[in-house]
Symmetry: C2
Subunit: 129 residues, 2 copies
């Protein structure tokens, strides 16, 4: 099995971080990993933001988060231990993660009762000019 790729902290870019966190499923996953003290398995997120995520898709999301430098993954037997790289990122880009997670909390608090229309990169083509 291929070893897991993790960028070294100097290779982590703001663009990659923002891109990774511009998806509602991925921010949800990341926030929970960042919040919890202990590491989390991938399959803990088969249901997230009120919908079921197919596991192949989940796997891609975790790869995206890893490649963006947001989380660290370690295989432990049959499962995966995911931990956040918040501390490193905070050192390189002070305040960034905190601001994003905070903004997210504000937003989900506000929209609690409504249903979300679709994804993070909203279909621009559908609602024109």
């Amino acid at each position: 099995m291929r070893p897991l790729f993790h960028p070294s902290i100097e290779d982590v870019t703001v663009e990659a971080i923002l891109h990774a966190l511009s998806d509602p499923v991925r921010v949800a996953i990341f926030s929970q990993i960042a919040n919890s003290q202990c590491s989390q398995r991938c399959s803990d997120f088969l249901t997230v933001v009120d919908r079921d995520i197919p596991k192949s898709t989940l796997s891609q999301h975790f790869t995206a988060l890893r490649h963006a430098g947001l989380i660290r993954g370690e295989r432990r037997g049959v499962e995966m231990q995911n931990t956040s790289r918040c501390a490193e990122i905070e050192h390189r880009f002070p305040g960034l993660i905190k601001a994003i997670i905070h903004a997210h909390k504000i937003q989900s608090r506000a929209q609690r009762p409504s249903k979300k229309p679709r994804s993070g990169a909203p279909s621009r083509r559908s609602a024109r000019e």
Copy 2:
């Protein structure tokens, strides 16, 4: 000509903001608009981050920034006056824009002499696992 669409501030989402700013051309445009006191024309950005952007592409970038709620555009005769919506966004998501722009400065300072490999949403498929 179609009137310009601007989301009202409550409809602005973190996801859309992050997505819009996960592109190096768009952050560059947005930072400059946010920094300058006076409004900026689209065509002031035909060259940005050391490359020439075709104007059809530029137009799409401005549309993306507008739809994300990051800028406001107003047609003035043949040209467009673009201003940032920082104040409104700061009110809704305190600290978010500041942290992102700051992180960006840190990054471009560090990578000044090297050339950037590619775009914000990095070709994941090319550098695997």
